[in-house]
């Protein structure tokens, strides 16, 4: 039982706190303010035409992202990929998790990555978040040194700051993103504490606001997420990912483990956040329905390569690559 009162102001109203991000102390790492004006208006549709925000510039630019597991050899790239349907190099056995993945993500927009298991979707996300060190490639964030330097060149301390302040991650499994043995509020507080918030009252207010926004009952704030349902755990994860007002949020199969009705609820919330906060998102999913709902643009990956990329509607209506055609026909069937 908590010894502290729960902040009363936020009682689970989902829309009550569009300004909650500004409630805390001013900290210099809040990179999202610049984009707010442009995206705050709810009238901007989820599928906004790209040109409408093009002048905001890309929030993230990824080029040539490659991750090899193994010693590597000159033949690795040539002997793997969707054409030969393998990730393992024939010459040296190195596993090519992903190779030459490039994309741009406009501020406030969402890009989807779809593909089967082992296609390298999650590796791309983990490399961007810093869980995995890529073998080659660059990733520029507008919020890191004005996009002048790849985040892969950053020192480990800088990388930690980028991870804490500029990026947010929602993992497929809640236990990867949450410490299930500390309270839901504590999990959200971890990010605020990393941003040097040092007043418990303020931290709790902000955490309660975020959890309320995610429709986690604020009365549960001091309970352990280990006791929460899967859907509730994912909501806590999203609240945690959004705590420091990141400019890019990475979502890894966040609805895969949930049943369909809970999925719908979580996806609704993500759409709302997208609309209200103007956060750019990378959504990894094997579910084309999720991508259709959330993403303007989509990349299709197979055997570590991007086989097709473009507007989601185009890819789903008029798939060019045989694998994409198979993927689309399998859900339409």
């Amino acid at each position: 039982m908590s010894a502290l009162p729960t902040p009363a102001a936020q009682n689970g109203h989902a829309h009550a706190h569009p300004q909650a991000r500004d409630a805390g102390p001013d900290h210099p790492h809040d990179h999202t303010h610049g984009d707010d004006d442009e995206h705050a208006h709810p009238a901007i549709a989820v599928h906004a035409p790209l040109a409408a925000t093009a002048e905001a510039g890309p929030a993230m630019r990824v080029a040539g992202l490659t991750k090899l597991y193994g010693r590597g050899c000159p033949d690795c790239i040539a002997t793997t990929g969707p054409d030969v349907e393998t990730n393992a190099c024939a010459a040296c056995g190195t596993l090519v998790a992903c190779a030459n993945v490039s994309f741009q993500l406009q501020a406030g927009h969402t890009i989807g990555i779809v593909g089967e298991s082992g296609s390298g979707k999650t590796t791309v996300l983990r490399a961007l978040y810093g869980d995995v060190t890529p073998t080659a490639g660059t990733a520029h964030l507008a919020a890191y040194r004005d996009g002048q330097r790849s985040i892969f060149e950053a020192s480990s301390a800088e990388r930690r700051r980028i991870r804490n302040f500029t990026l947010g991650m929602v993992y497929q499994h809640a236990w990867e993103g949450l410490n299930l043995r500390i309270s839901a509020g504590g999990n959200v507080a971890e990010r605020l504490l990393a941003a040097e918030w040092r007043r418990i009252g303020q931290i709790r207010e902000r955490a309660a606001g975020l959890l309320g926004r995610m429709e986690v009952p604020v009365a549960w704030m001091d309970d352990f997420p280990a006791y929460f349902s899967g859907g509730m755990q994912q909501r806590v994860q999203i609240a945690k990912a959004l705590a420091n007002g990141p400019s890019v949020v990475l979502l890894d199969e966040m609805t895969s483990g949930l049943d369909v009705s809970v999925q719908a609820g979580v996806l609704d919330l993500i759409q709302e956040i997208q609309r209200d906060e103007g956060v750019a998102m990378v959504v990894v999913s094997h579910d084309l329905g999720v991508v259709r709902l959330l993403c303007e643009r989509t990349m299709v990956m197979k055997n570590g390569r991007v086989v097709e990329a473009g507007l989601t509607d185009q890819i789903l209506e008029d798939p060019h690559h045989p694998y994409t055609q198979l993927l689309v026909s399998s859900i339409n069937a």
Binding site: S2, S156, G185, A189, A194, R199, I200
Partner: protein, 317 residues
Amino acid sequence: MLTTSNGTSDLHAPFAEAPASPEALPAEVGTLEGYNYGFLDELSKKAVRRALLKGVAIPGYQVPFGSRELPIARGWGTGGLQITLSLVGPGDVLKVIDQGADEGVNAVNIRRLVERTSPGVATTLDTGAATIIQTRHRIPELPLRDDQLLVLQVPQPEPLRNVEWREAETRRMHAEADYSRMWVALYEDVVQNGRVTKYAGYPVLVNGRHVMAPSPIPKWDVPKLHMAPYLSLFGAGREKRIYAVPPLTSVVPLSFDDYPFAVESFGGATCARCGSPKTYLVSLPDQQGGGVYICSDSNWCDTTLAASLAAHGEACR
């Protein structure tokens, strides 16, 4: 009647002449033959000194060192002892404290070992007369001077151990100054208990950079480390780590703005033996099931008592 920590039951007799000078404590035993000066071999002492220099250069950073075998068991002060043995030389005066008292078995044995293997090193109970003070879990009440060295024995040098058991991960956290999980532990403590409940070994931020375990000293002693004029050296023999707080270095306990750090409160109690109003007190149960508080620092208590008895004697005369 109260018993002093050094086993004397008569309050008056031993304090009529307080042991003020190092000569007052005669060497109990002779020097052992066949051992190198300071028990450790010269290379081992050199390695410890190198680790100390590195520790001083990076305040609060835990420097690994090759902890040597000693005739006392690991976990009984071997880290502090190796520092002491590496630093003592003829002319040094050593004081050893065990939880505030000079006459704990461990303190006596450590003192005896140094005495037996390091000719020319005197020992003392007097805080003011010592040049090196090796201590377990207390910092003396008498403010130390810049010409004194404080050597603390450390059982667990890693302040992050409770939130992260993997050594590689705690090293990464220190390297990246990623202390959010430490802070979350404090947050959870406040949320569950209404305050930070940690007493001994309260985590501190040293020089604005490294979170450090100040060894299990009470919260009472933590503010003494902040901007202290003397050099504090920390040795963990079992865990093979050495770290340091150089003179005039900031040592700030981790705390929240709305739940500030506070030292222990004794509800206005004073020492039942010497009457000191502002020292760290330990409780002493009495026959009636109640209890009294006395100073934890036996030398402070003895000195204060001797001074007040002397003053009392003057008044009577």
